[in-house]
């Protein structure tokens, strides 16, 4: 059997991004290989979510320079839904409430759109429910939640769990988790981290955006990057996260102010 190894899953080259004429990302370079876990840390407002959203295809952001290659394709040319179906998944920092759209409809449509794209048979309502129940156990999702509208009335932590639940259903190749840990209690954090680890495969990769070392104890990164004022100013091994936890960002800021 012939196996093609893609050495680079994601490659970001000199990426500049603006919104409303304001430059937010100023020359990002990043490479992610299959199997890797990258953590991105950095002070509030440094551009972490902007990067995550640009990768997922949010249209308000204007890419003024640079390129992004994902699985050998020009990512920036793809519609958000195609990026998703090609296996890119964003766990939102602020998941959106969609009143009136039932969770089950939403999830079933998402799963079946993926299946259609990959020439797989769509799941019937019964098959989907069975599949959904399996995945619910993985993140200990309460079944009442799937009876509601998408994210409507979910607590902060429930919304985050719901993101990982969706990830479990969609089985992405590259997952970008934007502050999935914030708002989770300690038990939920473990559950979510356990879920993420259970979904890992050697050919998949993960980018974890977080402020806290704690999550990285469960989801152990290969590389930790510091994003500051729109640039990656430092990349190192997992010990960098500990260092940041201890010393804060002042030393990074100082290093970069002169």
């Amino acid at each position: 059997m012939l196996k093609i190894f893609i050495l680079k899953m994601l490659s970001i080259k000199d990426l500049y991004v603006s919104i409303d004429g304001m430059e937010i990302l100023k020359g990002i370079n990043l490479e992610v290989k299959p199997g890797e876990i990258h953590a991105i840390m950095g002070p509030n407002g440094s551009g972490k979510s902007t990067l995550a959203n640009v990768l997922a295809g949010k249209e308000e952001y204007e890419v003024t320079h640079g390129e992004v290659t994902y699985m050998g394709k020009n990512l920036l040319e793809m519609a958000p839904e195609d990026r998703a179906k090609e296996g890119l998944f964003l766990s939102f920092q602020y998941p959106v409430e969609i009143p009136g759209v039932p969770m089950v409809n939403f999830l079933k449509t998402a799963v079946n759109e993926h299946r259609k794209y990959h020439n797989e048979k769509e799941l019937t309502a019964g098959e989907f429910l069975k599949f959904m129940r399996e995945k619910m156990d993985l993140v200990e999702m309460r079944s009442q939640l799937t009876n509601r509208s998408v994210n409507e009335g979910f607590s902060g932590g429930e919304k985050k769990k719901n993101e990982i639940f969706q990830m479990a259903l969609l089985e992405p190749k590259l997952a970008i988790l934007d502050e999935t840990d914030s708002g989770l209690d300690i038990d939920a954090l473990k559950t979510v981290a356990h879920g993420v680890n259970a979904l890992r495969k050697p050919e998949n990769a993960t980018i974890v955006v977080t402020h806290y070392q704690r999550l990285l104890e469960y989801i152990v990164p290969d590389v930790v990057h510091v994003l500051y004022k729109g640039k990656i100013v430092k990349s190192a091994g997992k010990e960098l996260a500990l260092q940041l936890e201890e010393k804060g960002y002042d030393w990074i800021k100082q290093e970069n102010e002169n």
């Binding site: 949010k58 009143p99 449509t109 969706q166």
Partner: protein, 455 residues
């Protein structure tokens, strides 16, 4: 055809027509229908064809709609089709008592009557007026000709429509389905007059479907008076599905006695100009009124829902939810009036109007009006005019759902709040489906139609 419509000329045209036909109208109808006729026409002349100058028609100028040379359908004409054979409602499991109305006239071959529960009468209004006028004692008491020119004109022309009587404590198990067809060989002006009595403790549900069967221009002006007795339940679902050259004017008056419950739900799927007037009077304690509406507009369609709920007695509740989805250059209006009379303490009255504009050119006018003369009441109203939530759209796309589908899911979700108020399950499912088709831009035909019509 002149583009400038001269108001005086137009009114004169209708006056000349009335003068021409009034004798034959009188001669061919029973006294109960004739009694208010002349005064009604005077009231119409006084008020004129509604224009924006009429406060209640601020958002709908009907002059252009009254302009075409219509043929007036003042006589019952033979229906050359067997409607029962031609029509087969494709709502699965929707088992109904079915009756047809053709150009405003109760179809002579309606044959459901035998299956109705004992004492229930579903008949031609014309026939009842002739044979049992005592059942029409309250005719034209709710629909006051001096208060609305369309009601006045309807009363002046009224000859037929349907009559429904549900005696005390009688439950009509199956919904009564009334199919209104418009089909004439030329442009036609249709008048339909309906009268409904649901006596104390009785229960009836009506499903009324409006269709056009060819592409002629139609103006249909209907008036329905409904009397809901103490502790009775009445539900009225209307499906408006007519082509863009149709003007559909409907005035429904509902009088409720104590402990009664009445629900109206308008699904305006299609139509050129639609105006729905609703006037509820809660005239007994603990009465409950629900007024729902949803409209889907595109091209240059216009839908105007005008409601008035009068809380005349204490401890009543009313709830209004109206939703519109407006595409292209369409235009919608909602004006809802809640009037709480001085002694109607402990009133609960709610009203909400939400609108989704899909383009920059679509417009919506919405006007709540609360007149509250009692001091111990709970009233609320709210209106929103907005676009599809872009954040939600992106969220769905980020899960692999393409933009069109995501939009569709959100529009359906928007309408669903109204759809789910339908208590008849197969009808609810079917309307859900029709709404989905309509939102997809597919023609939402709701019946298997043997006419090969291209409307």
């Amino acid at each position: 055809m002149s583009v400038l419509v001269d108001k005086a000329d137009l009114s004169l045209k209708y006056t000349a027509h009335y003068n021409e036909v009034k004798e034959s109208l009188q001669k061919e109808s029973a006294d109960v229908l004739n009694a208010p006729r002349n005064k009604a026409f005077q009231d119409f002349v006084m008020q004129g064809i509604p224009t924006r100058k009429n406060e209640n028609y601020k958002y709908t100028n009907l002059q252009p709609q009254f302009f075409p040379e219509y043929r007036f359908m003042h006589r019952r004409e033979p229906v050359k089709l067997d409607l029962h054979a031609a029509f087969r409602c494709d709502v699965p499991q929707l088992d109904t008592h079915l009756a047809f109305i053709f150009n405003g006239w109760y179809y002579e071959d309606n044959k459901q009557a035998g299956q109705l529960p004992e004492g229930v009468i579903l008949e031609s209004l014309e026939k009842i007026a002739r044979e049992k006028p005592e059942l029409l004692k309250k005719y034209a008491t709710l629909a006051k000709t001096e208060e609305d020119p369309l009601v006045a004109l309807n009363t002046a022309f009224a000859k037929d429509g349907y009559f429904l009587y549900v005696p005390k404590n009688t439950v009509v198990d199956k919904p009564i389905q009334l199919i209104n067809f418009l089909q004439a060989n030329e442009d036609a002006f249709v008048t339909q007059r309906n009268f409904i009595v649901v006596e104390e403790g009785a229960d009836a549900k009506i499903v009324s479907c409006d269709h056009t069967l060819n592409l002629n221009t139609y103006l249909s002006n209907s008036v329905t008076e409904v009397f809901v007795g103490a502790n009775a339940n009445f539900e009225y679902y209307t499906l408006q599905n007519e082509h863009n050259k149709t003007t559909s004017l409907n005035s429904v008056f509902v009088h409720q006695e104590k402990d009664s419950k009445a629900t109206t739900l308008y699904s305006s799927l299609h139509g050129g100009v639609i105006r729905n007037n609703l006037r509820f009077i809660l005239d007994g304690e603990n009465a409950e009124a629900h007024l729902y509406g949803m409209a889907f507009l595109d091209k240059k369609q216009h839908v105007d829902n005008f409601t008035q709920v009068i809380h005349a007695k204490p401890n009543c509740m009313s709830n209004q939810i109206y939703k519109n989805v407006l595409n292209d250059e369409s235009n919608g209006a909602f004006a809802g009036r809640i009037h709480v009379i001085r002694d109607a303490q402990k009133t609960n009255a709610f009203q909400r109007n939400n609108n989704l504009l899909l383009t920059d050119k679509a417009t919506m006018q919405t006007k709540p009006q609360l007149i509250i003369d009692a001091d111990d009441v709970k009233c609320s109203h709210g209106a929103t005019v907005g676009q599809i939530d872009e954040e939600a759209l992106f969220y769905m796309r980020a899960r692999g759902i393409d933009e069109d589908k995501a939009r569709l899911m959100m529009m359906n979700a928007f309408a669903h709040e109204v759809v789910q108020q339908i208590s008849i399950e197969p009808l609810r499912d079917r309307i859900d489906e029709l709404v989905d088709k309509r939102l997809k831009g597919e023609v939402a035909r709701c019946h298997e139609c043997a006419y090969n019509c291209d409307c």
